[in-house]
């Protein structure tokens, strides 16, 4: 499948602090790609490097087949952007800003513009200084989503939106995806990421720590097993891949790494299983594990070794 964004080993430093530390990111054509990470992980910096607003210090970057720094203006005609912090001209109205940005991108779809203004319930006659945070966000969203482009870069696009408008936003993103467009979505709202994204990348301290589909991510993480057995499960703690065993009489609960699951089941069969539940980690648990300080960077590519 064609890739729309391809970052390999991208480095960006601000003075002594390294914002991006050999970051890898691949976004394929036609997908909604979630881009997650704790505050200060380098998400906005990554997007600004992709836009050619910041110059990378090292590594390879391809955007829509071009170089994001060298070909910035030409590439920007094929993408639309919603900044993380929406700063607008205080003395222009929302409607004027939408048209201005549209005109500078080479025109926008008038019909979709008015349709989006209506769906987002935006009053385009107010001046930007009078807008609330959520309304400023809507101006930026309409300006970007009314553009008929191949790629949408959305930096925390739904921050400040009320739940109804946030739902509308999700609908619009799905429509864009169905139209074959690619979307890079940076967000902290996990339900939104889970509802919209095909694949996702998690970054921490300027590095990608995880990338893949939800199924792949889940697959790579530990399964939680609760079991009640007729006989004591005894030496199970010694099996490879078993962590955090807690015993309560005939009940036991523990986590199992993906590779250890088969061995654990074989062992349990010998103990007379009376009930067993195994649960995949929720998305939230996966994120928490990555966001927490103790989380280790994968030892081998793609493998997650969390040590709790």
């Amino acid at each position: 499948m064609e890739t729309v964004i391809e970052l390999a080993g991208v480095v960006k430093s601000f003075g002594r602090s390294r914002a991006l530390d050999h970051l890898d990111l691949t976004v394929r054509c036609g997908e909604v790609h979630g881009f997650l990470g704790p505050n200060g992980a380098g998400k906005t910096t990554t997007i600004r490097v992709l836009l050619g607003l910041l110059r990378r210090d090292g590594g390879e970057a391809r955007l829509l087949g071009g170089d994001p720094w060298r070909d910035a203006a030409a590439l920007h005609r094929r993408l639309a952007y919603v900044p993380g912090e929406v700063n607008l001209w205080p003395n222009l109205t929302g409607g004027e800003v939408i048209d201005l940005l549209g005109a500078l991108r080479g025109g926008l779809d008038r019909a979709r513009r008015s349709q989006l203004v209506e769906r987002f319930e935006l009053d385009p006659t107010k001046r930007c200084r009078a807008y609330s945070k959520g309304n400023r966000q809507k101006v930026a969203l309409v300006a970007a989503l009314a553009a008929d482009v191949e790629l949408y870069l959305l930096d925390e696009p739904s921050s400040g939106l009320d739940p109804l408008v946030a739902a509308t936003f999700q609908d619009v993103v799905r429509e864009r995806r169905q139209a074959g467009k690619t979307i890079l979505l940076s967000s902290h709202i996990l339900s939104e990421v889970e509802a919209l994204c095909d694949r996702l990348t998690i970054i921490r301290a300027g590095r990608a720590v995880e990338s893949g589909t939800f199924a792949e991510l889940r697959h790579l993480t530990r399964t939680t097993v609760s079991v009640e057995t007729a006989r004591p499960i005894g030496s199970i703690a010694g099996l490879p891949g078993v962590h955090g065993l807690s015993l309560d009489g005939s009940r036991a609960q523990f986590g199992v790494d993906p590779g250890g699951l088969n061995g654990v089941l074989q062992h349990l069969v010998g103990c007379g299983v009376q009930s067993l539940t195994s649960s995949q980690p929720t998305l939230e648990e996966i994120f928490m594990r990555h966001y927490e300080d103790g989380a280790a960077v994968p030892a081998a590519a793609g493998a997650l070794v969390a040590s709790r």
Binding site: R48, E85, N87, G95, D99, L104, L153
Partner: protein, 562 residues
């Protein structure tokens, strides 16, 4: 279900409660005061020391320039007998200190007023616009605490300024009482305009328009005092001028009517203090009437779609400078008409003034020299407009607007050039407004109407070559070092003006220093025929600076807000 009724009965009108407890309206004042001092610990001392230094330099210049009593008498008398020069000040007897004020008072008073306007707006309207006031106001802070802190800090700065300006004259050997009166005249204007800014900060909802409105009031005050002096009655051959009533309608005029180094009267000091107190009280009343974050002048609704002019970069750049361009155009129109109307009286110029005009205007023909020097002055004024307007490229970057723009199909080059070109277009309009209005006003007086416009318009446009160099310099500095763009651009522009023909020769600066200023090299049209070599050289320099700026701009990362 009696609860709702009980709630209803406890509701009191917020205005009344506010009035009942005056102390709470200033809660947290001392903390905000310390915050304001902390934020201004560099800015205000820089302003105060800068103005004081300027006064010391002016005084030293006049002390060293006057060799005898005859010099003082002749120069003062010339100044007093020229209505045009009386716009700048009013003589009250012959003295070195008095002559210093004639030459320098208006500049110092305007600077003091600007210092106060910016300080007050910085601690009031700017906080509301950026949302900081909301954060602060949610703490135990009274409704008027921010305004109170802003006014206390500004008033303190103006009192200090008054003392230091007086000191600057004293160390140059001027009489103590006169020096003190001069300091008070400068600081008093600053104080009053601190009060004016406190009111405009209540009226308008943005920092820019609060400063703009207060500056417009300052412009009117300067015109009124100038007009009063122009229309005044001259006695003692120009050594004494009794100003007409408009001078008394302006705080800038009060500073002059104190008449330091003449028959000093002290009671206008009370006018300063009373007007300041009145304006501060008015601002407080207005502040109780309005919602936080809003101005009293209601925001109008705007267009739901961009008009025909806005889409496109130049449209945006023009739109952003529209308000200030309009203000400048009105100012240029006013000055053009005034300078044109008095051009007939310049024929009587003699002595030092004749020398000054002929040197600056580059001709022995006094009227041509006068018109030329007025065009040169207008060109330097428009250079200030160019710096102010073009520094938008810095603020657009710092405020993050640029992020959205450059994420569209806009290249950095096109964006920067759109600002440069629309600023130069604005500068062209301003020079034309000045040249045409001066020509139309001077024509009937001099008796050569049609001929005059044909000469003044191209002569005004010649100034644009020097202005373009400054535009290129602002672009280059912003591209090279965004953080220092604002101070460096202003320093460059002001030095070009000081080294140029308006001051350079009078200050006795060496030739090589004067050569640094592009204004030194411009042909002195219409007094002297236009030679094209300097114009080509200036345009070349402007293009080189622009090219270098664009090159640097292409190479660096943007410095956007986090």
């Amino acid at each position: 279900m009696s609860a709702p009724a009980a709630v209803l009965t406890t509701v009191t009108r917020p205005g009344r409660r506010d009035a009942a407890d005056p102390a709470s309206r200033f809660a947290g004042l001392h903390r905000l005061l310390r915050l304001a001092l902390r934020r201004d610990r560099i800015t205000l001392p820089a302003w105060i020391l800068g103005i004081t230094g300027l006064m010391a330099a002016f005084t030293a210049m006049c002390v060293s320039g006057m060799h005898s009593c005859t010099d003082v008498i002749r120069q003062t008398a010339f100044f007093g007998s020229s209505p045009a020069l009386r716009i700048l000040g009013v003589p009250s007897g012959a003295s070195v200190g008095g002559y210093t004020l004639l030459r320098g008072y208006l500049t110092l008073a305007v600077l003091a007023a600007l210092m106060s306007i910016m300080a007050v707006v910085r601690h009031t309207r700017q906080g509301e616009e950026t949302g900081r006031a909301e954060l602060v106001g949610a703490a135990v802070v009274g409704r008027h605490s921010a305004l109170g802190a802003a006014l206390v800090v500004t008033a303190t700065a103006d009192v200090l300024l008054a003392g230091l300006v007086g000191l600057a004259m004293m160390v140059n050997g001027q009489p103590v009482a006169g020096s003190l009166a001069a300091g008070i005249a400068v600081g008093g204007v600053g104080l009053v305009f601190g009060g004016v800014a406190a009111v405009t900060a209540q009226l308008s909802s943005s920092t820019r328009s609060a400063i703009g409105l207060a500056t417009a009031v300052l412009g009117i005050a300067c015109l009124l005092s100038g007009l009063g002096n122009m229309l005044g009655t001259v006695t003692d051959g120009g050594l004494q001028v009794h100003s007409a009533w408009p001078a008394w309608a302006s705080p800038v005029g009060w500073g002059e009517q104190i008449r330091p180094f003449g028959d000093t009267i002290w009671w206008p000091v009370v006018l300063f203090a009373a007007l300041f107190a009145g304006l501060a009280g008015l601002a407080g009343i207005l502040e109780s009437q309005r919602d936080g974050g809003r101005g009293l002048i209601a925001e109008r609704r705007g267009r739901a779609e961009a008009g025909r002019w806005l889409p496109g970069l130049s449209g945006l750049a023009l739109r952003l400078q529209r308000g200030s361009l309009l203000g400048w155009a009105i100012g240029m129109l006013g000055f053009g008409v005034v300078f044109g109307a008095i051009s007939g009286q310049i024929r009587g110029a003699q002595g030092a003034a004749l020398q000054w005009y002929t040197r600056m205007g580059g001709s022995d023909h006094i009227v041509a020299a006068y018109l030329t020097s007025m065009l040169e002055m207008a060109g330097m004024g428009v250079a200030l407009y160019v710096v102010q307007s073009l520094l938008r490229i810095r603020s657009e970057e710092a405020q993050g607007h640029l992020e959205s723009l450059l994420a569209t199909g806009t290249s950095r080059h096109r964006w920067a050039l759109s600002h440069l070109l629309s600023t130069l277009l604005g500068a062209t309009v301003l020079m034309l407004v000045f040249a045409v209005s001066m020509g139309l006003a001077a024509g009937p007086v001099l008796g050569v109407p049609a001929h005059l416009l044909g000469e003044l318009i191209p002569a005004g446009l010649v100034q644009l070559a020097g202005i373009a160099v400054i535009g290129g310099a602002v672009l280059a500095v912003t591209a090279l070092t965004p953080r220092w763009a604002t101070p460096l651009s202003w320093v460059a522009c002001v030095s070009f003006i000081v080294l140029g023909p308006l001051f350079g020769a009078s200050l006795g600066l060496p030739g090589w220093a004067q050569d640094i200023s592009p204004f030194t090299h411009l042909p002195k049209a219409p007094a002297v025929a236009v030679s094209y070599l300097p114009i080509v050289a200036m345009v070349g320099a402007a293009l080189a600076l622009t090219g270098a700026g664009l090159g640097w701009f292409r190479r660096r990362s943007l410095s956007l807000p986090a």
